[in-house]
């Protein structure tokens, strides 16, 4: 038998049925649900009189629309947002699925809650009506985003109709330099491959620099696999993974833990397994990076300058021209000269405890630049509680940051946390699309440490100048 990749192994373990043309029915172990992409799916079930096939494998949490201000128990002002959250309350109850309502301390961004509660485990298939489901790949789980029709399909059948993707290996060798984080790795990979470079592939991230990452860092890397166009990102489970998972509320216990561990230890890519594409980046070559444009592939080391449209080829020339205009930048301008109005620390990319620690480390005993709007939105109520306990919340508050409740917040600005026209934000989120953080708002994607640094200086800043 030819050697298998990690992806091959997980795939093979979940095929329910394979048609002659290779179309497979794939079994889904965990289905995560949030309020924005699910109402039409539940409505579809009701209309067809279908139940949820495996409610015990289905977990729901509202995150996109929820207010993150401290007075949120007073309810949601925006009527449509409120209706969506109420619809999820009702659907979770009617269909008997696990639910973390807004009032629950465990509520948070779906991709942070799943791992935190031990729902996400190695070797699983995990889906959610949300593209950043790729996050869960950090556990060696095959995890990807699906559309609402597929949400309905999974609710009804606990399966998905899939064709196998191609295998891509992204290897980050060696070690990272000081100031370089998981966020810089994942952005640097997209800078290298482009936003369509991963289309049709499942990426396995490997190499010394990846193995050295914590689970939080690995989740950051896999989270943005989708920005590189990949269907999913994967990292083989190891001791770091097992240590993170052990003892979580829904992780296996006792004899089941041992059985699970035995299987998880077989989940790695065998020597000589075939990859359709291989990208290798030296860890030492990665620098702290920042995006200058309106696509995540518009990424450059912080020491660089704004490019000119003529630096590009084909359709990218017009796209770059449009980006530079939208972002209000001048070609040749140094990136560190770009002034920032707002700093946002949060999202499923960088809203975990380690991200908050990294930002707090930079901010400790310092104050944000006068006039800076700065906020921290923890990824879950439990992350928030832990940060309070560790004294990080005080560091943020003392520095002049707003200390919010958990949710997606300004990552996509569906709730009132939005940029105004022309407002420029250093953000730890994952998308710098036009209007993503508010109509005509301008986003620069950075790591938590770089976001904190920008909050202190008032402009994009090389974190290495502060450490």
């Amino acid at each position: 038998m030819s050697p298998k990749t990690l992806y091959d192994k997980i795939w093979d373990a979940h095929v329910v049925h394979e048609a002659d043309d290779g179309t497979c029915l794939l079994y889904i172990d965990r289905h995560l649900v949030h309020e924005v992409t699910s109402p039409q799916a539940f409505e579809g079930l009701r209309m067809a009189g279908r139940p949820v096939r495996a409610p015990e494998k289905t977990i729901a949490v509202p995150d996109h629309n929820v207010p993150t201000t401290l007075d949120r128990e007073k309810g949601i002002d925006n009527e449509e947002s409120r209706i969506q959250v109420e619809a999820l309350d009702k659907n979770a109850k009617d269909f008997g699925i696990h639910y973390y309502p807004v009032s629950d301390v465990r509520q948070g961004i779906v991709h942070i809650v799943g791992p935190e509660q031990g729902w996400t485990l190695p070797g699983m298939t995990v889906v959610c009506g949300d593209s950043h489901t790729a996050t869960h790949g950090a556990f060696g789980a095959l995890a990807h985003g699906i559309g609402t029709s597929e949400v309905e399909h999974v609710l009804a059948t606990q399966t998905l109709i899939q064709k196998k993707s191609k295998n891509m290996k992204v290897e980050i060798t060696g070690q990272l330099n000081p100031g370089v984080t998981a966020k810089d790795i994942t952005l640097a990979v997209i800078g290298e491959t482009g936003t369509a470079g991963g289309t049709g592939y499942v990426i396995e991230y490997c190499g010394e620099a990846i193995q050295a990452l914590s689970m939080e860092g690995r989740m950051t890397v896999c989270n943005m696999a989708i920005e590189g166009g990949a269907r999913a990102g994967l990292i083989a489970p190891d001791q770091t993974t097992y240590d993170y998972v052990k003892g979580r509320a829904h992780a296996p216990k006792g004899a089941q833990w041992e059985a699970a561990l035995n299987w998880w230890k077989t989940l790695f890519t065998e020597d000589g397994a075939h990859f359709d594409k291989v990208v290798t980046i030296k860890g030492e070559d990665i620098q702290p990076v920042v995006t200058w444009g309106t696509s995540p592939e518009d990424v450059l080391p912080i020491t660089a300058s704004v490019p000119s449209p003529e630096d590009f080829e084909g359709g990218k020339i017009d796209a770059a021209r449009r980006s530079i205009e939208y972002m209000g930048l001048t070609p040749g301008q140094k990136l560190t000269d770009i002034e920032i109005d707002t700093v946002f620390i949060g999202s499923c990319t960088n809203g975990r405890i380690e991200d908050l620690r990294a930002a707090a480390e930079v901010l400790k005993g310092k104050k944000v630049k006068d006039g800076m709007r700065a906020m921290v939105v923890p990824g879950s109520g439990l992350v928030r509680a832990q940060a309070e306990e560790e004294g990080l919340a005080d560091v943020f508050r003392d520095a002049g940051f707003e200390w919010r409740l958990a949710g997606c917040s300004m990552c996509l600005a569906m709730n009132p946390d939005q940029l105004s026209e022309g407002e420029r934000c250093a953000s730890t989120s994952n998308r710098n699309f036009e209007g993503r953080q508010g109509y005509k708002g301008r986003t620069h994607l950075v790591s938590p440490a770089m976001a904190a640094a920008a909050a202190l200086t008032g402009h994009l800043t090389d974190i290495r100048d502060l450490i």
Binding site: D29, N65, S81, A156, T199, R231, M414, E434
Partner: protein
Amino acid sequence: MDKFEKLHGIAAPMPLVNIDTDMIIPKVFLKTIKRSGLGVNLFDEMRYDREGNELPDFVLNKPQYRNTQILVAGDNFGCGSSREHAPWAIADFGIKCVISTSFADIFYNNCFKNGILPIVLEQHHVDLIMEDAGKGENARITVHLETQEITTSDGEVIAFEVDAFKKHCLLHGLDDIGLTMEKETHIDAFEDHHGTHRPWV
């Protein structure tokens, strides 16, 4: 779902690359709990000013493209989020076919669930159709799913690939869930086996 057989008409040109789902349907319109009615907000921020007036330069606001059923776009169309609101908005507007050199994966899949045919072509073929599209009324093209062919206004025939299963569903307007339900015994058997071997799942 409506059946998809053949289209004949003018294609609207959108040569911009990396048209993302936030451009296709901005998030303010994701708050609906319905599938329909999103067409008026398709490409909202490119199509209207802040007061809601149409921007005359935007392609779908030009008289010749207002009723187009075909869109021809730059590379990597539909990148970004998994929101099915994007294909819902496209379908609700009346567009049934999108042509590009590449599509984001989730968007591509979502199209088929909504009766939209996404077609991937080589750059030079997209360029040809883009050229036709630029001619407006003067250049109609035909998209024929059964034969997997596009005929340009000059009569040039361009073949395209489409997954056989997806094609079958589109041609007959079939719903995936119903088809999967027919395999329920396989799912039962898998769950039995899985439950014994991986009881922690």
